[in-house]
Symmetry: C2
Subunit: 158 residues, 2 copies
DNA sequence: GCATATTAATTCACCTTTCAACTTTCACGG
DNA sequence: CCGTGAAAGTTGAAAGGTGAATTAATATGC
């Protein structure tokens, strides 16, 4: 992104693809958020629950959780505080590194996860997955993976 | 999203595709934001500029602009206030409907757009468009379009 | 014509995110 | 060991976003 007078403009086709991608991202997040609302969770809450429930001992170091959910440490810290107040997680100090903390899923958090997950999956299917043929989904996955890798390489401080 | 004990879980393939899509959305927005930062603009600012600069008379009614950028009227109102303070747009009242307002691109806004657009395009190319083969981009576009339509149909109040 | 409903846009109060500053603990070179 | 720098995590203030309530103007039905 330097002084490029030589970068070609987007063709119509490229422009359409780009805007469609943008629209889908945004509308989809909105819709998922809406579908979670009745359960009193946000997308962020839900993603934390997923990450923790899949982890060893239903716990993760704050840093790892931040990395896993692609958010800043600061943001995660606030987020976990809120979820702690809601009774979904608790902080537990780490023996091996006394600077460190674990975010641990509470029983209530686990139970919430079990209860909400099927609805969320249904939502993801309905508004995304099931709208593709299996072949298209495969194609999507293969063409998007390099993009994800490219972006992960050059992501600085979240 | 009712009482679905019958919705199948996501297969591994589906899960991978879904998470890849999520990661790309997030990382990409972050990267674009970073690339705009040196010009003192956010993604939101930029999108407003695009919409206005493409419009008749470089102006749009607040409502239309909100619809075009998929944000709530409230959010747009704040956003325009900020951009007005930055000198990029100005509000102008509407003759034919005295409730209405136009957001109008100022000369400075237009000039900013002209100056920044090539860099933004380069950024979009570098981190997204140019990472696909033309065929993949076409496939992406065709498989994503129905998703966008599906979501637009059922989007309530933003 | 006049009450009623709708639409455009803003405002207010509240919540979330960001950014920089700070505390505590660990790593490691001499 | 011990100082110096880096890492883990938190905090607080400022900026941004949300949703409901509000204001003002227009449309609608009788």
């Amino acid at each position: 992104m330097t002084t490029d007078s030589d970068t070609p403009w987007l063709t119509d086709q490229e422009q359409r693809a780009w805007r469609t991608h943008l629209d889908v991202s945004r509308l989809l997040m909105h819709q998922l958020e809406r579908d979670l609302q009745p359960f009193g969770l946000t997308n962020n809450d839900y993603e934390i629950l997923v990450n923790l429930s899949e982890a060893e001992g239903r716990r993760l170091r704050m840093s790892d959780l931040a990395a896993g959910t692609l958010q800043s440490k600061s943001r995660l810290s606030h987020q976990i505080t809120r979820m702690e107040n809601a009774g979904l997680v608790r902080r537990e100090s780490c023996e091996s590194d006394r600077r460190g903390l674990y975010a641990v899923l509470t029983d209530e958090g686990w139970e919430t996860m079990r209860r909400v997950a099927p609805h969320h999956v249904a939502s993801v299917r309905k508004h995304f997955i099931d709208l593709f043929t299996p072949e298209d989904l495969n194609a999507l996955q293969s063409s998007l993976t390099p993009v994800a890798e490219h972006l992960r390489e050059r992501r600085g401080g979240l």
